[in-house]
């Protein structure tokens, strides 16, 4: 094992320990979780509901996560995925409240249609925002090195060769991870669970 890939392993183990500590209600776990995933939650909330409401959503996510920590099952999902799942619900609530304030029709079909049409920030519709959160939840569920590879490929515009060097992984492995992760995300978005990988 090289330094870099073992670094990824160490980070993965740290996440697993943190997930367990959170479920146990260990005192410092919430602070650790905020350090680790607060940026992600706040960033996704900003994309979804805009900067002015993102603080509120982030606060709600971590407060409700801590209050319902007894319901969290570390063996079912990593803490990051669970937190993004809560974020997704809080954002959906936010959209729903905004609609209620504007006295939109109570008919769920009409509401759903409005939600789909209504652009959130960044020109993303509420539906797209929800899909985005599903993708991030899945990324957190998959974990590293796939998560890291996708971040480098999509957000840091690194070539596959650069990623292979950065993470000390064979080029073929990097490409294969990207392909599988894309397909897994597609399955997730289509509401199916792809068990083969």
């Amino acid at each position: 094992m090289t330094d870099r890939s073992s670094g990824v392993d160490v980070a993965g183990q740290a996440d697993a320990r943190l997930s367990a500590a959170f479920a146990e209600g260990e005192a410092a776990a919430l602070s650790h979780a905020y350090q680790r995933w607060g940026g992600l939650v706040h960033g996704l909330a900003t994309k979804a509901v805009g900067r002015s409401d993102a603080d509120d959503v982030t606060q709600q996510v971590f407060v409700s996560a801590w209050q319902s920590r007894e319901r969290y099952r570390p063996d079912e999902a990593p803490l990051g995925a669970w937190l993004v799942g809560i974020t997704r619900h809080r954002i959906a609530d936010h959209f729903a409240r905004r609609h209620r304030r504007h006295e939109v029709p109570a008919d769920p079909d009409v509401l759903r249609a409005n939600l789909a049409e209504r652009p959130a920030t960044n020109g993303l519709t509420a539906e797209r925002v929800d899909q985005l959160l599903v993708l991030w939840e899945e990324l957190e569920r998959i974990g590293d090195p796939q998560r890291r590879i996708m971040v480098l490929a999509f957000f840091e515009d690194m070539t596959h060769v650069q990623i292979a060097e950065e993470l000390s992984l064979p080029l073929g492995t990097v490409k294969s991870y990207i392909s599988r992760t894309l397909r897994r995300m597609r399955s997730r978005l289509e509401g199916e669970h792809e068990h083969a990988s």
Binding site: D3, R4, G7, V10, A11, A14, L18, A27, A28, L30, S31, H32, Y34, Q35, R36, G38, G39, L40, V41, H42, G43, L44, T46, K47, D55, T58, Q59, F62, V63, W66, Q67, N122, L124, R128, Q131, L132, L135, W136, R148, M150, V151, A153, F154, F155, E156, H160, K175, S176, I178, S179, R180, L182, R183, M185, R186, L189
Partner: protein, 238 residues
């Protein structure tokens, strides 16, 4: 007609990593094209998805603590009140302690290793450069700067080179090494005109802590990163 592409290749075509032959096949094969298009949708969505900031604001953390503090002290006199009261006390105690220590200092990835050893190395030759970092000006008040890691007597020394340092009212400049996603950060010391060199602890890996960051910190007793960065740049080995 050429054979269909396998699943891996279809995904690579969708993100633009395909050979001419593969592109040609997809152009003429409805089945593969439909597959590629659905993967492109995912890939475009991903592109909208990031990047997300690496740090959440400290004021939100404070709001979270305040809300939980309030909850834990207001829920005592109900069923099983003794047990709940004890829990409340424990929680309140913890949150106060956490505040006292500073949120980030008790954070998982955060180590407090203040090892500015400026002054001890004055007479030493600077040593071979093993890594460099271009420090981009994150704040418009400063000019871009640079940093390098030199090896000196078997130790690694981080040197930060700025043309000029801004005047900071009620505060000082702090040098950090961050993990890529800032899940973890280590402070290596305070930056001043007289202190631009920092010996790195032996176990501190720059493949894990890949980014140099300089922030403005205030004398507020909070050891966490203030979120006010002036410079930031990735470390590249030479």
């Amino acid at each position: 007609m050429s054979t269909h592409l396998d699943a891996d290749d279809l995904a690579l075509v969708a993100i633009g990593d395909a050979s001419a032959g593969q592109r040609e096949h997809v152009g003429s094969c409805a089945q593969c094209r439909s597959d590629v298009e659905s993967l492109e949708t995912v890939s475009e969505l991903m592109a909208h998805g990031g990047p997300v900031p690496v740090r959440a604001p400290d004021h939100v953390w404070q709001a979270i603590q305040a809300e939980l503090d309030e909850e834990s002290t207001s829920t005592a006199p109900t069923l099983d009140s003794r047990r709940r009261h004890r829990q409340a006390r424990q929680q309140a105690g913890w949150f106060s302690t956490a505040k006292l220590l500073g949120a980030a200092a008790v954070g998982a990835g955060v180590m407090w290793i203040a090892v500015s050893l400026f002054g001890q190395d004055d007479a030493s030759p600077s040593g071979p450069v093993v890594a460099t970092a271009d420090l981009e000006a994150v704040d418009s008040s400063v000019q871009p700067a640079s940093a390098e890691i030199v090896e000196r007597d078997g130790r690694r020394v981080l040197r930060v080179d700025t043309n000029s340092l801004p005047e900071v009212e009620d505060g000082y400049l702090q040098v950090w090494l961050l993990e890529d996603d800032a899940a973890g950060m280590v402070t290596v010391g305070a930056l001043s005109r007289d202190g631009e060199e920092f010996e790195l602890p032996e176990g501190l890996s720059t493949t894990t802590f890949t980014t140099v960051d300089v922030s403005v910190e205030h004398y507020d007793g909070d050891p966490a990163h203030s979120g006010e960065s002036l410079w930031r740049g990735s470390i590249t080995s030479t």
